[in-house]
Subunit: 206 residues, 4 copies
Amino acid sequence: MSVSINSLASGRRAVNRKNNRDAILDAARDAFAEIGYSGTTVRDIIRRTDLASGTFYNYFDSKESVFNALSDEIGTELRQLLRDVRQRASSFDSFIEAMFYTYFSYYANNRENYMLTRSNRGRDGINQVMQGPQVRAGLAELNDDLHKAIAEGFIPSLDVDFLTASLGGVAFSILDEMMEREPLDPEAAAQFATRLFMTGVRGKNG
Amino acid sequence: MSVSINSLASGRRAVNRKNNRDAILDAARDAFAEIGYSGTTVRDIIRRTDLASGTFYNYFDSKESVFNALSDEIGTELRQLLRDVRQRASSFDSFIEAMFYTYFSYYANNRENYMLTRSNRGRDGINQVMQGPQVRAGLAELNDDLHKAIAEGFIPSLDVDFLTASLGGVAFSILDEMMEREPLDPEAAAQFATRLFMTGVRGKNG
Amino acid sequence: MSVSINSLASGRRAVNRKNNRDAILDAARDAFAEIGYSGTTVRDIIRRTDLASGTFYNYFDSKESVFNALSDEIGTELRQLLRDVRQRASSFDSFIEAMFYTYFSYYANNRENYMLTRSNRGRDGINQVMQGPQVRAGLAELNDDLHKAIAEGFIPSLDVDFLTASLGGVAFSILDEMMEREPLDPEAAAQFATRLFMTGVRGKNG
Amino acid sequence: MSVSINSLASGRRAVNRKNNRDAILDAARDAFAEIGYSGTTVRDIIRRTDLASGTFYNYFDSKESVFNALSDEIGTELRQLLRDVRQRASSFDSFIEAMFYTYFSYYANNRENYMLTRSNRGRDGINQVMQGPQVRAGLAELNDDLHKAIAEGFIPSLDVDFLTASLGGVAFSILDEMMEREPLDPEAAAQFATRLFMTGVRGKNG
DNA sequence: CATGAATGAGTATTCATTCAT
DNA sequence: CATGAATGAATACTCATTCAT
């Protein structure tokens, strides 16, 4: 029976389908977003594909490794987007706002990835968001940017590590709040975050 | 065998003046902090006590219920501390600073609880920090305070839900950064957080 | 707290209440009838009394032993009732009918005991109904009666063990059917059983 | 280690030409017959096979589901046998006798199934014998037959539900008695049961 | 005798992973 | 490479029973 199903599917596969690795990644994204990391079983993932459970291990070593691959994928995408922003920014203010906007927009347009991130933020013993080579690298770049901003006099000489952390913290917390609202308004969220970050609660334009 | 163990144990128990429930809570705090929620088994908890596995279930219904009891304990302590702060605050600025300071100090002095919180922040599908009746209530009180602060003209009329989220986000992220430093300096962290929150990166005293 | 409850209860107990053994038996009857033997836990039983779990073991050795005590109680009651019937019977026909009637009436008037018997008829490895010293003795008496009936020419010389078994089998199966009907009519059931047993399906008065 | 075990096992399996499902069913039949339903653990079952514990769950959902499968198997076999009897019967008397004979013979030739049925007759809250879709259906067919027998004037107009119950009751009780005798004599048992059922204890041929 | 907290052996079930086909 | 049945270690939780008070 499963043979016939596979036969049918493989027709489509030949032309249309992503390769098995991508199919597994997609299925895993769904599963993790829906059930959370520890609730998800490899069977949950494989059930969302046409594949057999053994095939999973032809592409990934373990449940953890798919998860890391997904995190990396998201991290890489976001990092690239933020890198583009950085190159285009004409002022520090617009750089910050563009960064927030990019970040919020990304998740607004990829709710699946938001769920994945959120459901698993800080899964056991790990601050997920702060983790993963790509995210780590992205934060390092941000850290550099802030150092440069200080060197170039755009902002006062603050504790850069605290500052980096704060930027991340504000981004996460406002993202969560934004994602609960209807309709999603990444622009408003970015404006709020930017204003708060730049001028604080007493900021002129408050 | 069980006799000798019990004799020894009851001796120690008598000395420690700890009842079993507390022993289990302490063991669970250790285990969760070290291994994380989902990695921790009931056996891991009970192994850190003198008790038998069945005894666990005389005090708690499940692994989840111990975890919730711990979360509640921390939430209640923090909430009470913050409530005291609130009552003593003479200005909005000092209120915010005292709140950050209290929060950072609490975890600086209870690293175990920090590990517990951090290791399990946002365990599957749940933003743990934002959760639990006590924490929820604490955040609601903060939300009220911010509403009042606006009503009384201390701060401009901002989106209070975004603001509450931001306060939490800044607190978490700076807490994480602070806890990695040596020596722990909750005062410096509180000053940074307060300044950022009040005046932003361009704040006068930056 | 439990002390005060017990204090209140012990007042009633002194004058009014059955002793603890009876209280446990009653509770067990309820529990077994409702949940069945293997589903019932000692806690289920003890929860239906004012007593503590340890007290159970002052009166019974195990769950099984309470069950046996209950079975024995029912067996003894039934055996005594049937013995009375036997003494009063004026003819074989009336003896059989009176026996069926007594048996059906007993359970009609003690549905709890019926449930107990039925829920546990033949529990693991044991044909419960055929078991227990009292029941065994009762069946032995019946066996004797049938032997005598043959010796005295009331009935033909049949295989008495088969006959005893059949009497029991008809009694059980008609009891089950009767207990499902509304209203309970032990007399009709006894008439049916007697006629079938005496004259078969082709019996004159069918 | 598991390798060598597997090698040995697959050899034997190959020889036996039994698939795992059947191996589990056989093991379960043994275990239930020997230890009874509630006494039997899944481990008891799996220990009687070459399989690993997890394999059990590839074929059955639970202990209950194997038990039901076995009951169904027996019920189906018996029902088919009785259906054949019914078709061949030339008179009501011979129909009844053939039915009893078939029933007694079946268990005489399948003592394992008898033990299974007997050990679990009426397990908790359930009159096992009267239960299970196949048995239920078989009894319904019997009920129909008795209705027809009345309609066609073979037997008087008796309470058919009582009659069905009685037939079952007599069959069970005589089966139990027969199975304790040596040698097994299903024919004698069937003759006795038939005579009793047809003409009662006072029957001509008694 | 009464208590009820403590005990810990015991059970069903899950699931990541392997491997013969 | 794909398959999916087999594996068996691991875990949460139950419950009859004990025993110090």
